[in-house]
Amino acid sequence: MTETLGTTSSFTPPTRFAVPGRISVDDRAASVWQTATITGIRRETPRVATFRLSVPAWPGHLPGQHLMVRLRAQDGYVAQRHYSIASAPDDTGHIELTLDHVDGGEVSGWFHTVAEPGDTVEVRGPVSGFFAWPGDRPALLLGAGSGVVPLMSMVRHHRARRSDVPLRLLVSARSPEELIYASEYGSETTPVFTRSAPAGVPVGRMSAAHVAPLLAERPPGGWEAYVCGSNGFAEHASRLLVAAGQPVDRIRIERFG
């Protein structure tokens, strides 16, 4: 028996793909390194700061996309990392990155202990369209720690456009002091504190009790869920979503690593 599949028709996997890509990516933008100048540094929490970068030829991005940052030492040694973009798309020629100070992190360590306004780094991007939210569908966002960064780009985009597309954010932090962007959240956001909380707010892990009421809102067309954080958080949060009835093929996950 001979099969002649695949010679002309496009291959479709037997399983409906969990997370079809949202947008097409400009390959040229992703492959060209350009110089970015740090124009401002803003502290968010004791271990997290936001770095504003001037990127004159930035091709634009969608909320949820990331870029690659490259640092080079005198001897030619190079280190590069992927970082989510924190700012909403705009036409200022600037983007913002919000970075954890990782223990022993050579790149985040440079940003947190050496970098000053006026310093330059190399960037390329934006890259990857899969976690992007163009603003078209109701968005249910679950983040923990600095996993809130790409989600905040979505919240800011939603606000900047004065969008009436439903959007909700569940953000987990160890304590109020460690909650990134604490002063920026509005009624769309529910913070969850795992170690210590303000008076009257319960302490504990994100749970079905947080997720169920949001799924019960049932916006037209259903939620597109975006989960970002450590692998442990991503596994936990995605299981909560599935248990609450969110279809697996409408859950996108970005894990640190």
Binding site: G6, T7, L71, G76, V127
Partner: protein, 201 residues
């Protein structure tokens, strides 16, 4: 060359096994799947090879385990810049499956697909000749679900997104067809030694 003011980086440890732009993740093994980890038991798992082959076939867990055991011991490289040295995956060489289905001479590429629907494309030459495995053990133990268990594809000489977790099958084609990440801006081949991260690299 643009030098970053005040950047020194990690201590230089000469390591000819580290591809350009990569760092040694040590004992860490980050998990980077884009989808929900499926609840898939060995009894539910199947692996199919079809497309441009003489005898398309589906293997069950037991049938796949009846093929000659083969292990990969070496290094793996993720496009997000970490590499992991001295890993050991146990399973079966992909050659053993292909020997059974007998690829047509016209087959040039494969699409590997997962039980989740994830896809990735590879030249046939990259998954033959002892360069690819179906693996169900890591370090002598069953492969964890978040790392692709019960079984995943291993193509260690390419960036690790090519090593599809929860592998469900391969389809052999006479042309290249981009998979999931390849349709999202990533390089069609992904050779870490040539730093083929993104399309255009």
């Amino acid at each position: 060359m643009h030098v970053t003011r005040g950047f020194t980086g990690r201590p230089r440890v000469p390591n000819a096994a580290l591809p350009p732009g990569q760092y040694d993740a040590g004992d860490d093994w980050p998990v980077l799947s884009a989808e929900v980890t499926p609840e898939l038991t060995p009894q539910e798992w199947t692996f199919r090879v079809d497309g441009l082959v003489e005898r398309p076939r589906t293997w069950t867990w037991e049938q796949a385990h009846a093929l000659p055991a083969s292990a990969y011991e070496g290094d793996i490289h993720c496009v997000t810049s970490w590499s992991k040295f001295g890993v050991r995956f146990g399973g079966v060489s992909l050659d053993a499956f292909l020997d059974v289905v007998r690829p047509h001479g016209s087959a040039t590429h494969v699409v590997a697909y997962a039980h989740t629907g994830y896809t990735t494309n590879l030249p046939l030459a990259d998954v033959t000749g002892g360069r690819a495995w179906i693996a169900w053990e890591y370090d002598g133990r069953p492969l964890a679900p978040e790392h692709g268990g019960p079984a995943r594809l291993i193509v260690p000489h390419l960036y690790f997104w090519k090593s599809a977790k929860w592998i469900a099958g391969l389809r052999l084609l006479d042309h290249d067809e981009p998979g999931f990440w390849e349709s999202n801006g990533y390089h069609p081949r992904g050779n870490p030694w040539e730093e083929q991260r993104y399309s255009g690299d």
